[in-house]
Subunit: 201 residues, 2 copies
DNA sequence: GAAATGACTAGATTAGGATTCTGGTCAATA
DNA sequence: TATTGACCAGAATCCTAATCTAGTCATTTC
């Protein structure tokens, strides 16, 4: 760890490295400061607590996912196709990002209790906002039915996506992601779209 | 506990009473046999193990729920309305039945580990079968689209319903059941139904 | 002879006390 | 003024003796 890098940056990088490797409880503040080559007191110049440091790492990690999710939601294709892509991107990203997955899907070995709930709430809130924005755009464009309540639909879509991705991670659910996405695309996508009068016979 | 009742019945009733009160781990076989006014060895004449006794109680409890679920699925109204009623009945019943809820929604204080997973698998399997039957009937009647894959749709509908009910039990999800049901009805229900040619202009 | 019983035991779990650890603080140092 | 690391209250862990419990089966009862 180069000490040319500013202390705060070093601490954030060290914190991410340690939390990803060992999880929240097993990582000590001394671990982080040692890895950052700084004193323990300096940690508290940048973070109010160990928990706040963890949340900062979650938020930085979440931005990486959200960048991909934005691309999925603004890509080409119909709304159902884009939602389907979003779920696939989510499953893919969370399959790889153990730190995010642990809090959102309850992997207690890495994080549990109040800090896990706080991290999950942050993720849920941001993903729901993203979905709500996409639904609003869809309504403005006329590709989503006017009667759809944006906030409720965003919340429900979040729960649906969450469940499908969780089922992918849970072998006993016996629901392969591809099959789930096909059915979801079929059922939920169709339920969302606006009905335009047919153009042909 | 009347000893006119046959021992097996007494054991089942006592097992249910004890497991509901104390959960799986805290209930001992001695607790059950004492409440049933029978000897410990008699327990093993009727159940192969403590876990099998628990599963017998889960199965009996599940039948009570499934009876209600059948009524919901065979009631009046459109398919979306009936699915909506099913989710509401589920939330209601599981809200009251702590024993079933503990295994299906992960309340570790009452049951956890292999026995909890076994109980959850039984519930998932039975509910999915019920949904698949309903979807098959719907396809035969022409009220569900022919293109819907029954088993996948049943699995996805289970996951969706499970997520919505879980969100009802989890305050931090911030998704009231009524709002979720409205949106679900709107989105999923519409996605399922068969498109009949309009009869009017 | 069949059914019921409860004493027994191997392994699991718990309780309690000693020891160690750790998040956060702040006096000392650079 | 910024940084450091010793300090400490409370939390967590470890160890070991004691207790508990699921399952068995020899004995008793009907």
């Amino acid at each position: 760890m180069s000490t040319i890098t500013p202390p705060r940056q070093r601490l954030i990088e060290a914190a991410e490295q340690q939390f990803r490797r060992f999880g929240y409880r097993r990582t000590t503040v001394d671990d982080v400061t040692r890895a950052a080559e700084t004193g323990k007191g300096s940690f508290y110049l940048h973070f109010s607590s160990k928990e706040d440091a963890y949340v900062a790492v979650v938020e930085a990690s979440l931005e990486r996912f959200l960048a991909k999710a934005e691309i999925a939601l603004h890509g080409s294709g119909t709304v159902p196709q884009r939602l389907r892509t979003l779920v696939a991107v989510t499953a893919d990203h969370y399959g790889d990002d153990e730190l995010l997955r642990a809090s959102l899907f309850g992997e207690a070995a890495l994080v549990e209790g109040a800090v896990a709930r706080r991290a999950a709430n942050i993720q849920r809130g941001r993903i729901r906002s993203l979905l709500a924005e996409a639904l609003k755009s869809g309504k403005s464009e006329g590709s989503i039915r006017d009667t759809v309540d944006v906030d409720n639909a965003a919340a429900v879509l979040f729960e649906i996506g969450w469940a499908v991705v969780r089922a992918e991670f849970d072998a006993s659910a016996d629901l392969p992601l591809d099959a789930a996405l096909d059915t979801l695309n079929d059922v939920v996508g169709l339920g969302l779209i606006a009905r335009t009068p047919p153009e042909g016979p």
